[in-house]
């Protein structure tokens, strides 16, 4: 162990698990909260392709297996860029889907 690392500061094991498989956003538009979509559409710092959510896939994760609902959503643009949303608050709707 690195002597400079304070007790408790050591790297922890990864706990994140896949909750919902990657799926096209355009097939989930009625399910995904509008603010997720608008955040991409309205961010002028993004590439033009990334501002079109319908061109993305989305997948969902839980930060740890015990989480009752997904709390991480990753949008994958066709250009390969990813846009992550980490849901830390309460009282919001968390979309879930099942890909068969």
């Amino acid at each position: 162990m690195d002597d400079d690392v304070r007790p408790g500061k050591e790297p922890r094991p990864f706990t994140q698990v896949l909750a919902c498989k990657r799926h096209p956003v355009k097939k989930l538009l009625g399910l995904i909260p509008a603010k997720y979509i608008e955040a991409l559409e309205q961010n002028q710092l993004l590439s033009s392709c990334c501002r079109h959510p319908e061109n993305h896939d989305i997948e969902a994760f839980k930060s740890k297996p015990e989480e009752p609902m997904p709390d991480i959503y990753v949008f994958h643009c066709t250009c390969g860029r990813r846009h992550r949303r980490f849901c830390v608050g309460g009282g919001d709707v968390r979309p879930v889907w099942d890909v068969r």
Binding site: F14, L46, S63, R81, F86, V88, G89, G91
Partner: protein, 142 residues
Amino acid sequence: MATYVKYDTAIQKLCDKLIDAFGSTDLWKAIIHTDAPVTATDSVLTDLVQIAGSNGYTTDGNTITFNSTRTGGTITATGVDVVWTASGGNLGASTTGRYVTVYDSTAAAKDVWCSWDYGATFTVADTETFTLDFGASIWTMT
């Protein structure tokens, strides 16, 4: 929601009037850090190791549009989502961001309040985004 972990000293600092968590008087910020929070001993911002202040990440983090209100005996804190957009390279020149902490930036010592664990390290590459979604409430306190 991701597991909310309050630093042990936060409540003491609230009672000591070092942290003002009611209303929108104090400026609250969110940071991304690489080291695991030790809730028993981490107390102020300098106890944490942030990603570097570059490529869209500002050292000491982004401001939260924060407010809290009381209903009956419960205080509910709310905040507008924080979005980091990488520009010119990986956000904070980092591939090892993992934790997010919220702190009171007005407090002289920049006292930390709570943290969340993303569950894995993450990289925010050039023109990618990382959004901290506070939902309908960041926390409630009774």
